[in-house]
Amino acid sequence: MKVVKLHESRSHEWLVFGRDEERPSKIIDTNQYMIKTTNHAIMLDPGGIELFSAMLAAVVHHVPVQQITHLFASHQDPDIISSLGLWDKTLPHAELHAPWLWEGFLRHFGCNSIKYNPLPDEGKSIRLDEVELQFIPAHYMHSSGNFSVYDPQAKILMSGDIGAALLPDGAPLFVEDFDAHVDKMRLFHQRWMPSNRAKKDWIRRVRQLDIKYMAPQHGAIFRDRDVVRFLDWLDELEVGTGIA
């Protein structure tokens, strides 16, 4: 599992875990994120059950497992959070922040000990030590209950499936050529994102944020100017094309 530090400051670190070489074939590659503060750590979209061992092994290179006190699931998909049942055994005192809409569904993955903190539709903020994290509504992008996470200090937006690209094994972790990257994202966004109205709403919210990195759950991370280019590209893109 490849681990890259996205941000490091006195108050906290952002780490991205991905490109696992031992990932079983036919399983979509995913990026997992962890924010480590002085006394806490939160894992954002900790991944599917098949990735659990690799993730857990990678995480303890950076924090004692007991320091992980929070989990976040942007939505309900198995590649996002089907490992929940195992995290539940690993971190029985942790809290899961996830859309209220999915509580009854996510509990099917096993959530007996972890506390489920339902995120209201309008979003909310939490504070881990000195770090504020904002859960930004991203409903219907693609899931009907969906959130992005924004860290105003690090200026990082974890965008979940928005900005996702289907890349070949060994692809770079950051977008290096935006124009070439567009081809890897187009179909995904057109087919997975169901609503142009929802898309516009999310773009409107996100344009108000100061973003250095936009970090999706699949594919490559956008830096600086590529973030704005992505928003402009998505703004123009017709989505919900599954209905012929």
Binding site: I49, A57, H61, P64, G85
Partner: protein, 202 residues
């Protein structure tokens, strides 16, 4: 008797299948109960002519009631077993995944923070396996019991045949009919119980 499942992955399906097959036994047991009622009515009508048949009808009623109770117990136990074997499968999977994480994090700065969690997963798996074995033993005991009841039924049908043969002509055919039905039901139940046992031993 086997002390534990050879393959939990199939076992929870087999245990659920056993529960489903037992519904047939329940139907047969209810048929025995019905035949027992017929026999009782017949014995009451015939009076002294078939007096010796009365203990047999009593046995049939007892057999039907016991079988119904046993089937319900086996059904409950089989479903518990199916659930347990699935939990065992999950705990084995969790145990393996924690072990794998431990192996992969040998050089990690905080790798030792996984030790107690991995140990806990191992303990949980051990407990699940023990529980599974306990339920399996119990289920086999219940299947033993139902099979032994059916063997007893076979002995009684042999005796009943003799009794039916000595009854007055007007009652002979009816009594023989009851005996045949009892025998058929007992054999069918024995066959299903044996099939269930084989399913669990697979």
């Amino acid at each position: 008797m086997q002390s534990g499942p050879r393959n939990s992955a199939h076992f929870f399906i087999n245990a659920a299948t056993v529960a489903a097959e037992l519904s047939v036994v329940l139907t047969e047991a209810k048929n025995i109960s019905l035949e027992a009622m017929n026999a009782k009515a017949l014995v009451a009508r015939a009076g002294d002519n078939v007096r010796t048949f009365k203990p047999i009808t009593d046995f049939m009623v007892e057999l039907a009631n016991d079988t119904i109770w046993l089937v319900k117990e086996i059904n409950r136990e089989a479903l518990t077993l199916s659930r347990n074997s699935l939990a065992d499968l999950h705990s084995a999977d969790a145990h393996e995944r924690f072990k794998k994480a431990q192996e992969r994090s040998k050089t990690a700065a905080f790798g030792d923070t996984l030790d107690s969690i991995a140990q806990e997963a191992s303990n949980r798996h051990h407990q699940q396996t023990m529980q599974l074995r306990r339920h399996m033993r119990k289920l086999f005991e219940l299947l033993d019991e139902i099979e032994s009841r059916m063997l007893a039924a076979n002995v009684v049908t042999a005796t009943s045949r003799l009794e039916a043969a000595t009854a007055a002509d007007s009652y002979q055919a009816s009594l023989e009919g009851i005996v045949v039905k009892l025998e058929k039901a007992a054999n069918r139940i024995k066959h299903i119980a044996s099939k269930c046992r084989h399913s669990l031993e697979r």
